[in-house]
Symmetry: C2
Subunit: 346 residues, 2 copies
C-alpha cells in the first residue's frame, strides 16, 4: 500500500503491529531548537516563515534530522484559514496571534468566504509538496488544521483568550449564528485537509485546542459535530488517509470522541493512557501524553516518565508517543534526546 | 443544632431535604458590583481591602443585600497564607498576584514557618468575627483556603502561570522537596480553616484551583493526599462543620475525590451535573456548575441555562447552585438577578 520506509505511524493507525511506539512531538519544529530560531530570523517573522515554502520545509525537517522522529508535521499555523477568510492575522512579540478584524455578528459570518486552498492558501500546499519531496519517502508527513470550534473561538475573540467570554456568549445567545460559522469552517477545514492530502500529506490531524473550554452539552452539540463533518468529508474523499483528532481537555468526552470515523485520538496528560484506553475501547489508536513540563527536569526523570507511559500501553499496536500538548519554548534539547532514547529502548 | 434562619446550605450539605437549591456564587463579592468598586477605591488596594476587617465585612455583605444569596463567603484571598509565610504578596494592576520571594529550593522550603492564624493572619480572623456578627444568624458564613498544591504552585511560580513549568518540573525532579512543601501547607491550611471555624465560619471550602493542571498520577499522589490531610484534620477538630472541596478541571477524578471525608464537591462546567452525580454516587452534595460566560448573554438565556442545570438534579437534596468558576469582572448585574430569580422559581 505505502512505499514509506519508516511506516510505524501508518501501521499503528491501521491497527497493525510494530516493533515499538512511533514518536513525534507536537510543535517539534519550534522555538526550543537553535536551528529553528536561525531560520526564523532569516524569515523575518513567523508568518513569513509559514508563507515561504522553502523555509517552512527547512524547519519541518530540522527536528527529523536532529532526533529521527517517526513522522514529520507540516510547519504552519492553524490560523491560516481565518487569515485566508480575510480576518487579517498578525503576530505581536509576546502577545500571540491576533486578528485585525474579529467576527462578532451574523452578518459578518454570512459574508465570510470559503477559501480555495490551491488559490488562497497556495503557500501551504506548496510547502506540503516541497516537504513531501524532501522527505523522500523516508517517514510519513502529517498535515493538519484547527477544529472548527477552535478557529471560531479565535475568530470571535480576535486573539488568544483566557475566559472565551465573547465566543462562548455568542454561542449561548446566538447559537444559529455560531452554527453557521462552524458549518462554514467545517467546509473550509475539510477542503484544506483534502488539498493537503492531494499535495502529499500521508496523515492528517485536527487540533481541537479549545474544545475543552466548552460545557459538556455545548461540546456535544456544537464542537464535536463540527469535527465530525470534517472527518466524514475527508474520509469520503480520501478513505485510506488516517485521521487523528485531539481535543485538549477532552478526557471526559472520549466515549463520544471515539464515535468519530477517525483512526487516532490525541489525549493530554490529565487522563492516564490506561484510563483513556478504558474509555475508548480497542478500536482506535491513542496519541500522547507526556506532560511537556516534564521536559524541564533532567534526562533521568524524563526516561522514567516516558517508561511509565509506555508501560500503560497494554495493546502493543495502538499507541503513538507524543506530548499531551505542544513542546514549550526553552525546553532543554538533552531532555528531548532522552525522551527519544527511552522510546527506542536505548 | 443550628440557629441560622436560612439553613438551606447547611441542610443540603447534611443530606437533608430543602424547598429549593441554595445558591451563592464564587467571587460573589467582586469587581462586577459598583458598590464593591467603591469600597475597594476607599481601601486603596486589594490587599488593603482584605486586611481591613470593616471593609472586608462591608464587601462580603454587599452581594447578600443585593441578591439575597443563601450564603456569605468571607472576602479574602487564597494567597494570605503564603504571604504570612514571608513570600511578600503584592498586586500589580492587570498582572494578578505576585510574590517578591518565590520558593524554589528544598532549603527555602525547610525554612518556611507555619503561620499562627490568630497571630499572623489576625486580620482574616477579625474579618470572620465581624462578618459573622453582622450577618446576625440570617445565613451561614463560608470560610475558605486554597488547596496545598494550588498554594505550592503559586509559591514556586511566584505569580499566576499558564504552563506551571517551574512548579511541575520541581514536583517531577524533586518530589521530596515538593512533598515537604505540601505537608507544611496542609498543616498551615488546616490551622487556618480551624481558626476560621473558631471565629465563626459555618462551612469551609477548599479551592483547588490548579489541581486540574496535574497529570492524573501526580494529582493522586500529591494533590489529593494533601487535601485529604487538611480535611481529616479539620474534621477531627470540628466534625460538625461541613467541608466543600473544589478541584477545577477535576471532573475525571471525581471517583477519587469522593473518597475524601468532605460533604460537598465543587464541579466546573466541563462535566454535566448528571454525569458528576453518576461518578460520585449519592453520598455527597454537588456544587456548581454554570459556565460564568453564560452571564454575558441575556436574562432569557441565563434562565434557560440555569433551569437545564436544575433539571439534572435528580436528588432534590443534594445540589448547591453555583458557577463552575468565579464570576467574571464586567458581568452584567441583570443577568445575576435573572440567575437568582430562576432558582427561586420567579
Amino acid at each position: 500500500m505505502t512505499n514509506i520506509q519508516n511506516d510505524r505511524l501508518l501501521k499503528v493507525l491501521k491497527g497493525e503491529t510494530v516493533d515499538r511506539a512511533p514518536v513525534w512531538l507536537m510543535r517539534q519544529a519550534g522555538r526550543y531548537l537553535p536551528e529553528y530560531l536561525a531560520t526564523r530570523e532569516k524569515a523575518g517573522s513567523f508568518m513569513g516563515l509559514c508563507q515561504t515554502p522553502e523555509l517552512a520545509c527547512e524547519v519541518t525537517l530540522q527536528p527529523i534530522e536532529r532526533f529521527g522522529f517517526d513522522a514529520a508535521i507540516l510547519f504552519s499555523d492553524i490560523l491560516t484559514i481565518p487569515d485566508a477568510m480575510g480576518l487579517g492575522l498578525y503576530f505581536t512579540e509576546g502577545e500571540g496571534p491576533q486578528f485585525q478584524r474579529p467576527i462578532r455578528t451574523l452578518d459578518a459570518i454570512q459574508q465570510l468566504p470559503i477559501p480555495d486552498p490551491e488559490q488562497d492558501l497556495r503557500y501551504v500546499m506548496d510547502a506540503v509538496r516541497l516537504i513531501k519531496k524532501s522527505l523522500g519517502n523516508k517517514i510519513p508527513l502529517i498535515g493538519f488544521a484547527g477544529s472548527p470550534w477552535t478557529l471560531a473561538s479565535y475568530m470571535i475573540e480576535g486573539k488568544s483568550s483566557r475566559d472565551f467570554i465573547n465566543s462562548k456568549a455568542l454561542l449561548y445567545a446566538q447559537p444559529e449564528a455560531v452554527q453557521l460559522l462552524l458549518d462554514k469552517l467545517s467546509e473550509a477545514v475539510s477542503l484544506y485537509l483534502r488539498a493537503q492530502i492531494t499535495a502529499g500529506a500521508d496523515v492528517v490531524m485536527i487540533f481541537d485546542s479549545w474544545g475543552g473550554v466548552l460545557p459538556e452539552d455545548a461540546f456535544l452539540r456544537f464542537g464535536l459535530p463540527s469535527i465530525q463533518k470534517v472527518v466524514d468529508d475527508v474520509k469520503k474523499h480520501a478513505p485510506h488517509i488516517p485521521i487523528i483528532s485531539f481535543t485538549k481537555g477532552g478526557g471526559l468526552w472520549l466515549n463520544k470522541i471515539k464515535e468519530l470515523a477517525i483512526d487516532g485520538i490525541g489525549i493530554d496528560w490529565t487522563i492516564s493512557l490506561a484510563q483513556a484506553r478504558e474509555a475508548v475501547g480497542n478500536t482506535k489508536c491513542l496519541q500522547g501524553n507526556l506532560d511537556p513540563t516534564i521536559l524541564f527536569t533532567n534526562p533521568r526523570v524524563v526516561q522514567e516518565e516516558v517508561k511509565k507511559i509506555l508501560q500503560q500501553n497494554t495493546l502493543q499496536t495502538s499507541h503513538i508517543f507524543n506530548l499531551g500538548h505542544g513542546i514549550l519554548p526553552r525546553t532543554p534539547i538533552e531532555n528531548v534526546e532522552a525522551l527519544v532514547a527511552a522510546i527506542r529502548g536505548e
